[in-house]
Subunit: 167 residues, 2 copies
DNA sequence: CCAGATGCTGGAGGAAGTCAACTATCGAGA
DNA sequence: TCTCGATAGTTGACTTCCTCCAGCATCTGG
């Protein structure tokens, strides 16, 4: 039984090793070629180029406090990559809209990720397909787990103190 | 041709999404159950329980400046998880040795990673095997790329300014 | 033995994160 | 309708993490 535990632990380590390597690699290129800080790049990548995204939603996707994304959005706005717009349905929320310049930047970022990914390019097309399928399955499981946790917390939150913070 | 670029970019995003999710999940548990900061946990996980590791090597594995790991090691040492020892072969280098207490902590961390990994536990054993194989292939490719880059830089470094910083 | 290179640490400064307080707005109920 | 509690975004104080530079101790090649 130690076998399964060790396999899972090793697998977890491997996923995070590869991911961290790629993140560093991209961050270097984003900084060198596009002049983007890693956090700015991460923020921009989380936005939807076709639909406005509320500030709070971006914070939740980044896994950090809403007060933290304010300076990011400031810089993205100053760089002309996104625009803050007031949601007509709820004038409290400010939605983030990717400008055409921001879309061009995203395009260049995807160029980098799609043409300079040594670890992934070492895989054959069919291997990439299976990897994508496996990761998709893992990802949906993660989201399901998260939704379940949320529901459980919501249920308990009635008799507990108010929940604050991430997700 | 856009297809391959987009597939690679999407795959990269997926790898990092899943990894980030797991990292957050573990960090919550490490903090709640073991009282470990995420950076401390990451440092400890990079150490070799069986062999001393020089401070500089740890910095390189973490991808950060050596002066940055000094405070981490201070805290790890204060927590009794590692010990600084002077390398008898080169008295400049201080090697980090995991104590028995540190080994127990690593054991508990592996317990968490091996028994509470919702995204990976959603996969069947054979799927985990293939995932492990694919990631292993990607990882060796990454290390090969890195070694090649290093060699190229070393070769150029003779007539360039001295290289400093991360790997 | 000496000069340059290397390893660790301390300090200055910047970037990024959390929390609490504030303003503006929404929604539900008296 | 009006008021009260909840919510979205921002601000400010504070902490943590990270990098660069300087400094000290030590090694290594001539």
């Amino acid at each position: 039984m130690a076998s399964e535990r060790d396999q899972l632990a090793g697998l977890a380590q491997e996923v995070m090793d590869v991911s961290l390597w790629m993140a560093r690699h991209y961050n270097q290129r984003f900084a060198a070629d596009l002049g983007l800080t890693d956090t700015l790049a991460r923020s921009l990548l989380q936005l939807d180029p076709d639909h406005p995204v509320p500030t709070r939603a971006l914070a939740s996707m980044l896994g950090c406090d809403p007060s933290n994304v304010t300076p990011f959005v400031d810089r993205l706005e100053k760089a002309g990559l996104v625009e803050r717009q007031v949601d007509p349905h709820d004038r409290r929320v400010k939605t983030l809209v990717v400008t055409t310049e921001g879309r061009a930047m995203l395009e260049r970022m995807n160029d980098i990720r799609g043409t300079d990914s040594p670890p992934l390019q070492a895989l054959t097309p069919s291997e990439r397909d299976t990897l994508e399928k496996l990761l998709g399955k893992a990802w949906t499981a993660a989201k399901a787990y998260e939704a379940e946790q949320c529901a459980r917390i919501q249920g308990k939150a009635i008799e507990d103190k108010p929940i604050r913070g991430k997700v």
